[in-house]
Symmetry: C2
Subunit: 163 residues, 2 copies
């Protein structure tokens, strides 16, 4: 399958799931070495999960199948340019490349997410949800203990990007 | 319970889960009308899920318990200032307020996420993972059909913020 084939598959998945289960038509597939190793569609409404965007669902599926949280060496094909949550999920999952169909600039008049785009660029004290800091010292002691134990390195050390 | 009590609970949860199951010590609780309605801890490693940060886990737990993807009227208490994925998850979940303990500015030398913070502020073509657009027209037709059906409004229409 070519890059275009994988994208066509993602778009068809979004259309099919919209028709079959009323999913929001945002789907993604994860590809490694020319094979689909994960796929997902936006089931926020059906699953009562605001984090279940197509990209997140596909990442979870691939991680489950491959038995790792680290998708280095894999690409994602998504039927719509990822929102900020999914950009960050892609970063944490360490995906190599991102192929997208719809651009957010072209869909924003139909489904605006300017509020999110603005929020994420602001410091925590200036976002739409008011924020307040509490008990910083107590929490820092726990993080420090974790980092000193060497455990933090398992999550935070990123391999060299292959590309 | 006071705001400080909820935060202390979240920090203790992070410490306990770190000791019991080797979780990364990032925990969050969701509170509505003075009651805890959801809680979660970072189990990225144990669950092979790079999206399972404490905030995402707590949001999923609260949504499951309450049977909705919309947590308007709820607050989140998190043992660490949310990363960009979690800021966006909080936005999509429509949480009212954010209480946090550790500030990212204080933990970043121990667990740097500058790469993410920079990526998310850049246009898609300038991020660390190379990106390419394919089949925009095909994908737009599906989104348009969804929006025209009226289904999109269920996800995209946000209630007035109560605060």
């Amino acid at each position: 399958m070519t890059e275009t084939d994988f994208m066509r598959y993602a778009i068809e998945l979004s259309r099919r799931k919209m028709q079959e289960i009323g999913a929001a038509p945002f789907a993604a597939v994860i590809v490694r070495d020319g094979e689909i190793v994960g796929e997902g569609v936006n089931t926020v409404l059906a699953d009562h999960d605001p984090t279940l965007h197509g990209e997140v669902a596909a990442i979870r599926d691939a991680c489950k199948r491959l038995g790792t949280f680290d998708l280095s060496g894999c690409d994602i094909y998504t039927s719509c340019e990822p929102c900020e949550m999914c950009v960050a999920a892609i970063w944490w999952a360490r995906l190599d490349r991102v192929f997208y169909a719809n651009a957010l600039a072209d869909t924003n008049h139909l489904m605006p997410i300017d509020g999110l785009t603005q929020d994420i660029r602001r410091p925590i004290g200036e976002r739409s949800a008011p924020a307040r800091q509490l008990l910083a010292k107590e929490a820092f002691d726990v993080i420090k203990q974790w980092v000193d134990s060497g455990e933090a390195a398992k999550l935070m050390t990123r391999p060299e990007r292959r590309l």
